[in-house]
Amino acid sequence: MRVSFTVNGRPQEADDVWEGESLLYVLRERMGLPGSKNACEQGECGSCTVRLDGVPVCSCLVAAGQVEGRDVVTVEGLADFAEQRAEHGGCASAAPGSCGTSLDAARRWEARPADSQTGGDTALAPIQQAFIDAGAVQCGFCTPGLLVAADEMLERNPTPTDADIREALSGNLCRCTGYEKIMDAVRLAAARQGEAARR
């Protein structure tokens, strides 16, 4: 079947979609957006979290056909999404998302020289920058889902308590960090967001 929907502000279309395919599969394998991760495919880890019409969901549990005509934001569009939210308030539709990783791109990958990780030419959402700064990224496989979930929580609740953060992120498993640096990152993003709002 054919499925059409909006991803990160751009209309996308996939043909010959098998009816049992998930939104996650279509994003990763048909739309070149592998940022959402396939860690459990049963809604028990949160690594595939995307926003479906603004609501965080596990994309592995959404049938591709259910997304017809709807709006999806993935980690690839998070920076634009956050920027437009900051500019206009509320949910914004994002600019064209970046494309996924082709083999050629993967072959060319190399860590950037020196400390270019702190920004440079890549615009990041505050939550993304906070994850880097706080050391919340290790293997990084849980990171995209956590970022989407944490960003949405800060949108709803700009001044979360620790218990609020833990509750909001209780659907996202991380196996590397023990979550402490993730807590630090969300607190940091909340603090920076608060400072920015006061300015």
């Binding site: 098998w18 049992g20 394998e29 070149g32 592998p34 940022g35 991760k37 396939n38 860690a39 459990c40 495919e41 049963q42 028990e44 993935t74 980690v75 690839e76 920076a79 996924g100 990783t101 083999l103 990958w109 190399e110 860590a111 950037r112 020289p113 400390d115 270019s116 990780q117 702190t118 920004g119 993304q128 880097i132 700064d133 050391g135 990224v137 290790q138 293997c139 990084g140 496989f141 849980c142 995209p144 218990a163 953060i165 833990r166 509750e167 992120l169 659907g171 996202n172 498993l173 196996r175 590397c176 960090t177 023990g178 979550y179 402490e180 640096k181 990152a185 607190r187 940091l188 603090a191």
Partner: protein, 814 residues
């Protein structure tokens, strides 16, 4: 560009989470002491931006025009003869390109294995465990591949299963491997025992007579899964030269290569491996998973083949942590001095050997824990059984032992009537202590100090669930969101534990790494390029390598090349060894590059300044400077258009095998120590546990990147928490089938199960190691589990001898 470390330390952490000031001899670093972004700083990950934007290419993200999907058909039973396999219908399915079985393997090499090549690439006439690969399929869509695999008709005749020591060694027990010819068969008492390592020292019987208190215990350790989040996956691309390019997530490229190439019948240079993004490892990627299968399908079909396990398959796709039965006896005098220890550790290695022999060596040689004990009688064995294969996982044999000996320490302290921490401190080993293997501990072993530090940390406040207001915040109570208690039945407990882990590969293994470092001028700036085959699995090796290059070469710009087999082996990302060994190799190669650069400088500019010949020269801030700080030349001018490149292997000092009868030998390179204090709150009526805090103190020798060090300690601590209260692969003892291969029923800690983890980092240099550093990744996984168990015992008064502890154990309802 600068590193934003201020942001990282101002993140509202509560409690002592920062690295403490170094105690003891600080490592002397002259070269690079003034270089920004060098060792000792919390520089940020070079792959951080890619990972937060979703652009980082993990092995499951690989994609290729025209690629096929591979699917593995696995055995639904644990032990059976395969009477027949019919692939006809599967092969006839539209969209299917290949269906391969054992008969299709191209060469005489049909097995693989880390140490013993006993694992069939595809089952031959027999399956030995639930989930063993039987056939593989390549098709144009994963669903097509799945449907085709389901159409393969395999006729099994089930055989009796071996599931524990009794059934493995019973008269007439089925043999897992009838024709063993490995080098362990000569010293084991039964062919279903993979390896046996005794360690005998002193006179246990005489020492036993001096004991005023003797404590015995029988302990059970459940089977833990690494549960890395990125499932096994990769892409094999057939090449025009008849070889194959393999992009895969692994812990050790060259070990994979050594096992893959012979099965494919290709020379190693025609199997070109590149490390893809690795979604965690923890030991679970030390063995092969989909590598050979993808290559076979790619070479057969002439098309790129991608294989991605789902979570269900991942539980069958890698080895697990050995479950264990441990019997311990300790004695102590009435003054609290340990007299002797006897123990027997039985590890279940499952159907294939994997890393079992080395795990046995570790369990035996570290069975005593970080204590002074001169009279010991230790035996560790690993079984072959029809249970899932077990091998490497963070802590590697030392975890199981620590759980048992730390429970024993508490029992002994209680028997003697001493404080549990003081009892441990009284018996703690220190630098100079002889291990039961006869090896002298020749670097700092601050066991008593770590215990002191962890005990001195402030206690978390009582009843934090009331802090928010009048009503109980269930999120802070046992049971969490499930709303099982508002404080009723909740009792707090505190427990302590400390552990010892070896660092690096032991027992005479030639444990080396290779680094290629290049220095040249790019865009008017001196740039260092570091190329190793080190598998970055999340631990932060890429960050540290850049720091080392900056420190050693005085440059700001460092490029880390992707890891591949175009450079020599880096050894495994395991055994807490990469910063030590590959870090050591990078340091060594940088030093050689530096010498060559200075040589060029002397050649070009030596006549202009006498200091070129007389002073100790350093590379700092892109310049050649004297140790007095005088600038002699810019590196840009020294190098001009010349590039200096060095590729060198680097080894730590050698180790020895353990004697097969006495266990004597200088088997280990370095030891690593951590201590934990666990504070738990237990709902004693429902048997539910909330870990409130897990404080850790660890000696790291030298923190090359403090932020990463703390991240490793917190992550390891949490995996230990998982084993304590929830994580276990449950295998049916009657059928040897796995009952919970999913994230629905194999539970790992969520953020609501994980406490605050204050970390106190001690830096006592090991003079034998680069920069004095100590491998750190595993030690925190050891003591975390027994600390939590001790705290639960403290809260409940129960004698808990197994882990994980489940609600039914705490309520006497098992």
């Amino acid at each position: 560009m600068t590193t934003d470390t201020t942001a990282a330390t101002a993140t509202g952490t509560r409690g002592p989470v920062t690295a403490s000031a170094p105690v003891g001899t600080p490592t002397k670093v002259t070269q690079g002491a003034g270089t920004k972004g060098g060792i000792g700083e919390s520089t940020l990950r070079p792959d951080g931006t890619l990972k937060v934007t979703g652009e980082f290419a993990y092995s499951s993200d690989m994609w290729h025009e025209d690629m096929l999907w591979g699917q593995i058909l696995r055995s639904p039973v644990a032990h059976a003869r395969i009477l027949s396999i019919d692939t006809g219908e599967a092969l006839a399915t539209p969209g299917v390109y290949a269906v391969l079985t054992y008969d299709d393997l191209p060469t005489a090499v049909k097995n693989y294995g880390l140490e013993i090549q006993d694992t069939p690439v595809l089952a031959h006439g027999r399956v030995r465990h639930h989930g063993e690969p039987v056939a593989i399929v390549a098709a144009d869509h994963p669903e097509t591949a799945r449907r085709a695999a389901a159409k393969i008709k395999v006729e099994y005749r089930e055989l009796p299963v071996v599931t524990d020591e009794a059934s493995a060694t019973a008269p007439g027990a089925p043999l897992l491997h009838e024709d063993r010819d490995d080098h362990h068969i000569g010293h084991v008492s039964h062919p279903n025992i993979v390896h046996r390592q005794p360690i005998v020292r002193g006179d246990v019987e005489a020492a036993r007579r001096r004991a005023d208190h003797i404590v015995e215990g029988e302990y059970t350790f459940g089977m833990q899964d690494q549960a890395f989040l990125g499932p096994e996956s990769g892409l094999a691309v057939p090449a025009e030269d008849g070889g194959v390019d393999l992009y895969v997530a692994t812990q050790w490229l060259h070990s994979d290569l050594r096992q893959i190439a012979p099965v494919l019948g290709l020379p190693e240079d025609k199997v070109r491996m590149t490390l893809s993004g690795v979604g965690g490892a923890f030991g679970g990627r030390e063995d092969l998973s989909m590598q050979i299968h993808a290559c076979l399908l790619a070479l057969r079909t002439g098309k790129p083949v991608k294989i991605v396990y789902n979570r269900f398959e991942s539980f069958f796709g890698h080895v697990h942590r050995h479950p264990a039965k441990l019997h311990y006896e300790h004695g102590a005098t009435k003054d609290g001095k340990l007299t002797h220890m006897k123990c027997r550790i039985v590890l279940d290695g499952g159907a294939y050997a994997s890393a079992s022999p080395a795990v046995v060596g570790n369990a035996a040689s570290l069975a005593v824990g970080p204590y002074v004990l001169e009279d010991v009688d230790i035996e560790a064995i690993a079984l072959y059984s029809n249970n899932p294969p077990c091998g490497a996982m963070r802590g590697f044999g030392a975890v199981q032992a620590c759980f048992a000996y730390e429970a024993q320490m508490d029992k002994l302290a209680d028997a003697v009537g001493m404080d549990r921490v003081e009892f441990r401190q009284l018996n703690a080993m220190s630098q100079g202590t002889l291990m039961p293997t006869g090896q002298r501990v020749d670097s700092p072993a601050p066991v008593a100090e770590l215990l002191r530090r962890v005990k001195a940390m402030p206690m978390p406040p009582e009843q934090q669930w009331l802090a928010a207001g009048e009503q109980a915040d269930v999120r802070q109570l046992p049971g969490g969101l499930s709303n099982t208690t508002h404080g009723e039945g909740v009792v707090r407990g505190v427990g302590y534990a400390v552990g010892i882990k070896n660092v690096g590969f032991s027992e005479g293994f030639d444990d080396y790494s290779t680094a290629r470092v290049r220095m040249e001028v790019v865009g008017g700036e001196p740039v260092a390029t570091v190329h190793t085959a080190m598998a970055e699995v999340g631990q932060g090796g890429v960050t540290v390598h850049a720091q080392i290059a900056r420190t050693e070469l005085g440059v700001a710009q460092v490029t880390i090349q992707p890891a591949d087999t175009q450079v020599g082996s880096a050894g495994s990302t395991s055994a807490s060894r990469q910063t030590y060994v590959t870090g050591g190799a990078v340091k060594n190669a940088c030093e050689l590059v530096r010498e060559q650069v200075l040589e060029i400088g002397r050649r070009r500019f030596g006549t202009y300044h006498p200091a070129w010949a007389t002073a100790e020269l350093l590379l700092e801030g892109g310049k050649v400077v004297t140790d007095g700080g005088e600038v002699l030349a810019d590196l840009v001018d020294v190098l001009e258009d010349e590039a200096v490149e060095v590729e060198e292997e680097w080894r730590h000092r050698p180790t020895e095998a353990f004697d097969l009868r006495t266990g004597q030998g200088n088997g280990h390179v370095q030891y690593s120590f951590a201590a934990h204090r666990a504070v738990v709150e237990v709902d004693t009526e429902l048997g539910l546990v909330k870990v409130v805090e897990l404080a850790c103190a660890q000696d790291v020798g030298k923190a090359l990147n403090p932020l990463s060090v703390i991240g490793q300690i917190q992550g390891g601590t949490t995996q230990g928490l998982g084993i304590a209260v929830m994580e276990e692969i449950i295998v049916d003892p009657k059928t040897a089938k796995v009952r919970n291969p999913s994230f629905t029923d194999y539970l790992i800690p969520t953020i609501l199960d994980t406490p605050t983890i204050p970390v106190d980092v001690l830096e006592l240099a090991d003079d034998h190691a680069p920069y004095g550093l100590r491998g750190i990744g595993e030690a925190p996984t050891l003591s975390s589990t027994p600390a939590v168990l001790a705290a639960i015992r403290n809260a409940t008064g129960l004698d808990l001898n197994r882990t994980p502890v489940r609600p039914e154990h705490l309520t006497n309802q098992s």
